[in-house]
């Protein structure tokens, strides 16, 4: 098992280095010299230019700059925001819990609904239920997520007034930031109704963000189940006289989930892409919105650092999924 994990880790390292190369070259690929680019329309005074040059080490040759860049990263220094002057990593860590909370509930929504729908659709193949699930799922991943969010806002917030339009919690409440997770913080705070407000604010964004993963999980589960249900060992299980429920939930599901777990792992990247858009629509203060705004404000240090941190996170999550896959699927564990 350990050997398996180490081997996977080893394969990750070149990819990580590749990403650092990518983010490093980002600033240097922009036409014009980096400092003018970063200054944008503001222009830059001579002292500021000298200051920035020294700060960013732009006078040194490229490979030296890269080396400095890498060693900074190894020490956890991902640069400082050009606008707020705060370390990029700190800003990231402050804003990340908001995105994580949103993504978590979106994922729960997607898996909690997607798995059962996919299973039932597979078992009742060709039925009206199956066709309905497949159609909804098709619509789900054909939808532009930002439009879907706006539509739901029009329907539920504006027309019906059931959910709020934006933010994590009503402005009426002041909640101390203990964990960064609004649900936990609101629960622990002394304000009446804070928790309810937090929940209300979380519902719509989670549904919007979770729609595409829901569609993908439902589809994937269904097709995986269908494939497994056609396997020889399912025939054996039925020949043993096992009840249909047992055949499906015990024998088929274990095998069917294997590719689904991989797909769920891949959804993390999609969740993050979707978070950028969802957070923008719902004014949700997470890293998605932070990254987007940084690009508009030409805060390239944030863009550079942010992409690197996000990509690293995704690589590690993929690694985790790989390991999890090895746990579920005995064949992978025992091979080589």
């Amino acid at each position: 098992m350990i050997a398996f994990i180490l081997k996977r880790l080893g394969m990750v390292i070149p990819t990580f280095i590749g990403i650092t190369l990518l983010t490093f070259s980002l600033i240097h690929m922009i036409p014009g010299d980096p400092i003018t680019v970063m200054a944008g329309e503001r222009g830059v005074s001579a002292e500021r230019r000298a200051e920035l040059e020294a700060l960013l080490g732009l006078d040194k040759p490229l490979y030296e700059q890269y080396f400095v860049y890498i060693s900074n990263i190894a020490q956890g220094d991902f640069g400082k925001s050009l606008i707020t002057r705060e370390p990029v990593l700190d800003e990231f860590l402050t804003l990340f819990p908001a995105t994580m909370e949103l993504s978590l509930f979106a994922a729960l929504f997607a898996i909690g609904l997607g798995l059962p729908l996919g299973i039932i659709a597979a078992v009742r193949r060709g039925s009206i239920f199956d066709h309905t699930v497949m159609s909804i799922s098709l619509a789900g991943y054909s939808m532009p997520i930002f439009w879907w969010g706006l539509l739901l806002i029009i329907l539920f917030s504006v027309t019906l007034g059931w959910t709020p339009v934006s933010g994590r919690i009503s402005a009426l409440y002041w909640v101390d930031t203990v964990t960064g997770f609004m649900l936990i913080d609101a629960w622990m705070s002394t304000e009446q109704g804070a928790f309810t407000s937090a929940v209300q604010h979380l519902i719509l964004p989670s549904i919007v963000l979770g729609t595409i993963p829901l569609a993908v999980v439902a589809r994937m589960t269904r097709s995986s189940m269908l494939e497994v249900l056609g396997e020889d060992f399912i025939r054996t299980a039925r020949a043993k006289g096992l009840s249909p429920l047992r055949v499906i939930m015990k024998h088929a599901l274990r095998n069917a989930l294997i590719p689904v777990v991989t797909v769920i792992g891949l959804q993390v990247g999609i969740l993050l892409s979707g978070a950028i858009l969802t957070e923008t629509i719902f004014a949700w203060p997470g890293i998605g919105r932070w990254l987007l705004e940084s690009i508009h404000r030409r805060d390239y240090q944030v863009v550079q650092g942010g992409i690197l941190i996000v990509a690293t996170m995704i690589i590690l999550i993929n690694l985790l999924v790989d390991v999890l896959y090895g746990v579920i699927n005995p064949r992978i564990r025992h091979s080589n």
Binding site: D232, T236, A239, G241, R331, H334
Partner: protein, 326 residues
């Protein structure tokens, strides 16, 4: 009362104008303690018919039969629950590909114990002991360590032994073995067959042995059913059938064995192929390939005739001298 009594069993696939008849009105019986061999090429419908007996045919397949009785009880009218009580307990089945017939996510021990749990119950300890005993009975060395092995860690022969252990776990009265050795190495084949026959004798089980291997049938079976393109073409006691085959197809099968070609320059194979879904001939299904076919054979379809223990589906069954009685 026969152990298994099948009358005019048919299995159709698909709807519309041309439903594919994988099994076409076959009838057979199996007595307690008897070994019946079902012989035929691929596409003869032998596997599908046994799946139909087990109740394992799903939509879009449709099973119809005048009678499908086990120990006198009609299976078609049983509720699903009741039928499942018999499946795996009184009638069991083992399949051709043992490597893919075991669930890769569970250990061998778990899968055997499950068979026991569903039909007989008992504490985990009791079931484990029983499973262990079964593994020993099927000749698996070091059974204690094998209990926690996963299917992919076993060889083909081992997997088939495990399948057999699972099948006999609840002392079935009838065991259906669908080409149990076809996917195994030649040396292992003999071992598995010996195991099956030993168990059959010990427990006085009915055994349906489905195979395309005539030598195996000659050795192991009491009675033989020969199938072609979904129909039964001949039945009889094994010695009679092999010595004096009555249907041209049976004769062709016997002739195609390498042993019968000793002294000849070429193997005596039957030309042509088994008709598929798109090219069913009119009249007798064998007529395009049969050397004795007449015009009557090509236009009219024969039905089984003769005494119940010795049926043949042919207008001109071969006489003792080997030629057709014209």
């Amino acid at each position: 009362m026969s152990l298994l009594d099948v009358k005019n069993l048919s299995v159709h696939f698909g709807t519309g104008d041309h439903p594919f008849k994988a099994v076409d009105q076959i009838s057979l019986t199996v007595e307690a303690g008897e070994v019946v061999g079902i012989v035929g090429e691929s596409g003869s419908g032998k596997s599908v018919s046994s799946l139909a007996v087990m109740g394992l045919i799903d939509f879009p397949g449709k099973v119809t039969a005048d009678a499908l009785a086990f120990e006198g009880q009609e299976l078609q009218t049983l509720s699903e629950n009741d039928r499942r009580k018999i499946t795996g307990k009184d009638i069991a089945m083992i399949f051709q590909e043992p490597m893919s017939s075991l669930n890769p996510c569970f250990t061998v021990g778990d899968q055997i114990m499950e068979a026991i749990e569903v039909h007989q119950g008992g504490s985990r300890k009791e079931r484990k002991a029983k499973a262990l005993a079964l593994l020993k009975q099927v000749g698996i060395p070091a059974p204690e360590s094998r209990m926690s092995a996963y299917p992919h860690q076993l060889s083909g022969g081992m997997s088939q032994r495990v399948m057999i252990a699972m099948a006999i776990a609840c002392d079935p009265k009838l065991l259906i073995a669908d080409e149990p050795t076809t996917a195994l190495d030649v040396t292992i084949q003999a071992q598995i067959i010996d195991l099956l026959l030993d168990l059959q004798r010990q427990k006085n089980m009915g055994l349906i042995l489905i195979t395309h291997d005539l030598a195996l049938v000659a050795e192991a079976a009491d009675r033989v059913v020969v199938m072609y393109a979904g129909q039964v073409v001949e039945t009889g006691r094994v010695d009679e059938l092999f010595r004096t085959p009555m249907h041209p197809y049976t004769q062709a099968l016997l002739n195609s064995m390498p042993e019968s070609a000793i002294g000849h320059k070429r193997l005596r194979a039957l030309g042509g192929v088994v008709p598929g879904a798109n090219d069913r001939p009119t009249g007798c299904l064998l007529s395009p390939r049969c050397e004795y076919a007449t015009d009557r054979c090509r236009t009219e379809a024969p039905i089984p005739s003769g005494p119940i223990e010795r049926q043949v589906r042919c207008f001109f069954p071969l006489s003792a001298s080997g030629s057709t009685a014209a």
